[in-house]
Assembly symmetry: C2
Homo-oligomer: 152 residues x 2
């Protein structure tokens, strides 16, 4: 039913890697190498995340990218909103242009507000750190220790 | 981001009407008339809801449809699952057939499990009765009292 954009998935991969590599600045090239995500995709994701304030970009020879907050302070709601726009179960906007002729009279208008609210609350409670912890827990032990050292 | 199928919206309209009209059986024609939802759509929704156990169908001259439980006992999670399938934020299944060649090695596999869980929990806590109460609260007073008597 709910479908996340693939870019959102990549954003979590990129941000997880940035978190794992500590507070230092990372270039898009380094992140692409460490995550195996293609460079144009990494660049696109970093662009969006920087614009939305989840990543900070520093220019110059020793420049690069860093998370603007720790993984504990970044919620999944913020990541999804940055990549996909407002979190809302809006059936009516599906057809956009074709629109609904009786919208102003529609008894369903706002029906999903409560549902949107609980979903937003739920997604605000899960952090990037939670996703990283889940990934780590799922990895075999050798990969868990090796991962942060790969191809820096 | 999340988009509900329009049929799910209609299902809530249909079920709200069935709840408002009490415990008696209602024909698809009656429901279509009372909700202004086209009969073929009502029939389709009732078909799915019956198959998924949220609505009971009784055959015969005095037959018709009724909710299989009260609105307080039917969660939004159940309605969405009936109409849209499993509740999951699965980016990877987007491309279905084209698939992912490294799925078995993918570090992101299962990343969204926790997010899926919290969304499912959130949607399980909201009931059809909550949606109906929200609709009623939003109606002007005259419509609120008139609504159940319309075109029976």
């Amino acid at each position: 039913m709910f479908r996340l954009n693939r870019l959102t998935d990549y954003a979590v991969v990129v941000m997880s890697q940035m978190s794992a590599s500590g507070a230092g600045l990372r270039s898009a090239q380094q992140i692409a190498r460490d995550t195996s995500v293609p460079l144009p995709t990494v660049a696109k994701v970093l662009n969006v995340l920087t614009r939305e304030g989840l990543v900070e970009s520093h220019r110059g020879a020793s420049g690069g990218y860093a998370l603007s907050r720790t993984a504990e302070e970044i919620s999944v709601a913020e990541i999804i909103r940055a990549l996909e726009g407002p979190i809302a179960l809006t059936a009516c906007v599906d057809n956009g242009g074709s629109g609904c002729e009786v919208e102003s009279l529609c008894p369903m208008r706002g029906t999903w507000d409560r549902v949107n609210d609980v979903i937003h609350q739920a997604l605000s409670q899960v952090t990037l750190a939670d996703l990283i912890a889940d990934q780590q827990a799922r990895m075999p032990a050798f990969a868990r220790t090796a991962a942060p050292q790969v191809a820096k």
